[in-house]
């Protein structure tokens, strides 16, 4: 008996130890997780912003003043110390996010989550994320060891922080997922930049277009997906003189299309990733100083994607938004200039069909066989054996799709040609922009920038405004890269690049303002081929119309424009639909909602019902119209909104309007308006029943979600903010202005900024999400630009980073 009791108690003891020490499914190891000495209770704390911290490798003391927004103002004696301090402070406030984002970039999530994320990891590996990051490091090693040494400084700073930690100090997400941080390295910075490149220049529809071309033919394709819409208001003004460009566009070769059928394509970045930026000249500014604004539209995430800092040495003093993992300020200002970015959305991904030999060791190119290179991706999986994925590389790039991945053809595959693999020196652009003093410095800084191509807006205290569309752009032949190409034909390769000095740009244009909102970069007169790869067509026109509407503009005007909820898209279609729809069959309910949308003035404010009716109505209409492209077995896409509305208004009787399913009737646009309206009303009534009403704020339900799939406990929901995609205030459900900045070029510049989050990455900190309410209300914070290393009244704490002596 006593043995049995003993055994039972032994089993119980081992059992309770195991149960409380092990992560079971989504449940964290409760003993580790909840014990007050090293569990989450240790994260129930504010930021430490005073005292002295010893950091190995610093050459001199660094002072960090914190203001009440928890923005660190860093005063270092040289750039090496500055980037060490930036690494250290970023890790201190954002360690988990810093590391998690690069794990995601590298396709290493299965190390944390197990098998469930293997497909994601494989996709990222096959996209060549790690390969691209390695190319960037190789480039720096060969051409720019100075930048690489700064990247190493940043890594040293991050590691100095990690090395100070005991497990009880780890951010709460590590405890929840039961793992710990690893050392930071320059490659992780390169991975972070690849992550941004993927997010902003990783979108393409080449394979979908190939399928559509096969389905509908060339003529219909051109109607649905034109290179230029019927009207454009491009980034670089239409009247720009391009006569200085003396390099011709690549000549059109005689090559055959490859009309394959592709069933499934890899996951793409969010199509709403975009941004606004603009600047007015001194002559167009109420105060006589140029004013510049930037608001990048990205996923609304917690911890926030941005971390605001002031970074200074005796030689420069810069302030603005940084991205954890990258050095220096990304969107900001210094004493002389201000700058910001929007996505240039150019097509820098192309696909090639590659034919292999029997054992897939060689591929056909230019009538000969060329060797493939194999890169073995070793994907570690938590609690399981690693998964080894052999990715074949051609001179085009990685063969993303082959018999091992989303394809069944043993003898062929699709190789990806992406400028993101070319190994650029993007980090140098930011480091140099941070220290730039004038237009020439800005232009010099930009030349290193490869991808993601960006519209860099610029303003200086000297009074210049400018906008360069910077990236490494292949000089394509007409139509190149719109569809899958034959990878064995050398004429299909990228033949050359547009010389950097011929990238489209404008300096001090006559109209007195520059702006970009992801629209078409140029009009048809630009002498190189620019394919419409999903350009925006609404925000740009609202912005430019605003700046043409009066003589002078103030900071207040800029704020109002950031928060402008005017829905130009709806304004261009709703009156037409109301006018042409046959209303004789409307029921009482339908008439009520018809009345509601008729009286809408096209502002997406939170208390309006018009935006919700529009969203339902247009959503139903769009699906009815493009039912041709709703096929589960083939990867397809549908035409852009602008062209959809254009076709509805101008080609109302086209065969695409017909609903395929109803074989006995032929629908026209007018029929679709009514059918879609009736369906929308049914859904709106349901929503009203479920949620009480369908006012836009509730209907949209904007939230800022934690990086762990919007884990509810760490996210913020039902944020009262208007706007939507294609609206200047581009706040949709979980996407929108991730940083809003306005800088007036006084001496020194005066700046406002805000973002939907907070400086701390710790969900237990009051600084985790403290900006969100003010952001939603459309207000801004004054960015306190310290001109010297002296704590003034705005400083709430000062911390000193002190070099430890080397033994």
């Amino acid at each position: 008996m006593k043995y049995i009791k003993f055994l039972i108690s032994l089993v119980l003891t081992i059992g309770i130890f195991y149960a409380l020490n092990t992560k079971l499914g989504a449940i964290p190891p409760l003993g580790k997780f909840l014990n007050p000495s090293s569990g989450i209770w240790q994260n129930e704390t504010d930021e430490s912003i005073t005292g002295e911290i010893f950091i190995p490798g610093l050459t001199e003391q660094v002072t960090v003043h914190y203001d009440e927004l928890m923005i660190p103002h860093v005063f270092a004696q040289n750039e090496h110390d500055l980037y060490k301090a930036q690494g250290y402070l970023t890790a201190k406030h954002r360690l988990w996010q810093l590391e998690f984002q690069t794990h995601a970039a590298a396709g290493r999530l299965s190390e944390i989550f197990g098998e469930g994320t293997l497909e994601y990891d494989r996709t990222e590996r096959r996209r060549g994320m790690g390969y691209g990051a390695e190319q960037a490091i190789v480039y720096m090693e060969q051409h720019d060891t100075e930048t690489l040494s700064f990247v190493q400084d940043y890594a040293d700073g991050v590691n100095a922080y990690i090395n100070q930690l005991d497990p009880e100090d780890y951010p709460v997400e590590y405890k929840l997922l039961d793992y710990g941080p690893e050392a930071w390295s320059p490659k992780k910075t390169a991975l972070l930049l690849m992550y941004m490149t993927k997010m902003l220049a990783g979108y393409d529809d080449d394979l979908e277009y190939t399928n559509i071309l096969r389905l509908v033919g060339q003529e219909n394709f051109n109607l649905l997906f034109p290179d230029f819409f019927d009207s454009t208001d491009p980034v670089i003004p239409k009247d720009t003189d391009w006569s200085f460009i003396d390099v011709p566009q690549t000549e059109l070769p005689v090559s055959q299309m490859v009309l394959d059928t592709i069933a499934e394509t890899i996951e793409k970045p969010h199509p709403d990733n975009g941004s606004n930026n603009w600047a007015v000249s001194g002559a167009k500014s109420v105060t006589g100083h140029p004013i510049l604004a930037n608001d990048p539209h990205l996923g609304l995430k917690l911890p926030a994607i941005w971390f605001v800092m002031q970074l200074s040495t005796p030689d420069h003093n810069v302030f603005g938004a940084t991205i954890p993992g990258a050095l220096s300020v990304i969107s900001g200002f210094n004493q002389y200039i201000a700058w910001g970015e929007t996505n240039a959305t150019r097509d820098v991904i192309d696909w090639y069909k590659v034919a292999f030999n029997d054992d897939r060791t060689q591929y056909r190119y230019n009538g000969q066989w060329k060797d493939v290179r194999i890169r073995v991706e070793d994907i570690k999986i938590r609690g399981k054996e690693s998964f080894k994925d052999s990715v074949l590389y051609t001179h085009h790039g990685p063969v993303v799709y082959d018999k091992n991945f989303k394809s069944e053809n043993g003898r062929s595959g699709y190789a990806m040609r992406w400028v993101g693999h070319d190994g650029g020196n993007n980090q140098k652009t930011f480091i140099e922009l941070n220290t730039a003093k004038n237009y020439e410095d800005y232009v010099n800084a930009l030349q290193y920038w490869n991808a993601p191509a960006q519209n860099f807006v610029f303003a200086s205290t000297e009074g210049d405004i400018a906008l360069w569309i910077q990236g490494k752009f292949p000089n394509k032949w007409e139509g190149q890269g719109k569809f899958l190409m034959d990878g064995s034909n050398p004429e299909n390769d990228w033949q050359s690049y547009i010389p950097q000095k011929f990238n489209a740009h404008t300096k001090n244009p006559e109209r007195g303002f520059v702006s970009s909102a992801n629209q078409h970069p140029v009009d048809e007169n630009y002498p190189f081929y620019v394919f419409n790869d999903g350009y925006e067509t609404y925000r740009n026109r609202v912005i430019n119309t605003f700046f043409r509407s009066k003589e002078k503009f103030s900071v207040q005007d800029f704020k109002e424009l950031h928060n402008n909820n005017y829905n130009l898209k709806a304004a261009e279609l709703v009156p037409y639909m109301l006018e042409h729809m046959d209303t004789s069959s409307l029921s009482e309910d339908e008439k009520t909602i018809y009345g509601e949308i008729s009286s809408w003035k096209f502002n997406n404010n939170i208390d309006e019902v018009g935006p919700s009716i529009w969203r339902q109505w247009y959503g139903k209409l769009y699906h009815m119209l493009w039912d041709e492209f709703d096929d589960e077995d083939t990867a397809l896409t549908s035409p852009y909104t602008y062209q959809t509305i254009y076709l509805l208004k101008n080609y109302g009787d086209h065969k695409f309007m017909d609903i395929v399913e109803t074989t006995d009737t032929i629908e026209t646009a007018k029929d679709l308006f009514l059918l879609a309206f009736k369906e929308a009303v049914v859904r709106l009534k349901e929503i009203a029943k479920e949620d009480g009403d369908y006012a836009w704020g509730n209907y949209k339900g904007t939230y800022v979600g934690h990086l762990l799939q919007a884990l509810p406990a760490f996210s913020r929901f039902d944020i009262p903010i208007g706007g939507d995609r294609n609206i200047v205030n581009a706040t949709s459900k979980n996407h929108g202005p991730s940083w809003r900045m306005i800088v007036e070029m006084t001496t020194p510049p005066t700046a406002l900024g805000i973002y939907p989050g907070g400086q701390s990455g710790n969900p237990g900190s009051r600084y985790y999400d403290n900006f969100i309410d003010d952001w939603a209300a459309g207000t801004y914070y004054n960015l306190h630009f310290l001109q010297s290393n002296e704590a003034d009244s705005a400083v709430i704490g000062t911390q000193t980073l002190i070099p430890t002596s080397h033994d």
Partner: protein
């Protein structure tokens, strides 16, 4: 009764000391040690160290959390589906620690029983 109090206090103090350099299972070690050195009988074998550690973990977590307005505790309570109530999380924390300690103490008791009557 004094025996109970002695074991209670000894478990609590030993656990607090061990927690400075051992992971969470220091409470199991503490309860095991006191169950061997200050043996109790019947239900007290389990419940005295259980209450000792429950008190230690809940008071300690309360102190840490109250200075920060329970910001994180509320979120973790939501995460573990305990409503938004930080006090329930504090109680659960205490019970988790207490359970581990109590079971370890029962094991200690069985060790003694096994040793004594051999």
């Amino acid at each position: 009764m004094t025996k109970h109090l002695t074991n209670f206090l000894a478990t609590l103090i030993l656990a607090a000391l061990l927690s400075l350099f051992l992971p969470w299972w220091s409470v199991m070690v503490a309860a095991l040690v006191t169950s061997l050195t200050l043996p109790l009988k019947k239900a007290a074998v389990f419940f005295v160290p259980f209450l000792g550690i429950l008190l230690f973990w809940s008071v300690y977590s309360f102190v840490l959390s109250s200075t920060n307005d329970f910001i994180l505790a509320k979120k973790i309570a939501q995460l573990l589906q305990l409503g938004d109530n930080p006090y329930i999380l504090i109680l659960v924390t205490g019970v988790v620690g207490g359970l581990a300690a109590g079971i370890a103490a029962v094991f200690g008791k069985q060790l003694i029983v096994l040793g004594a009557k051999k």
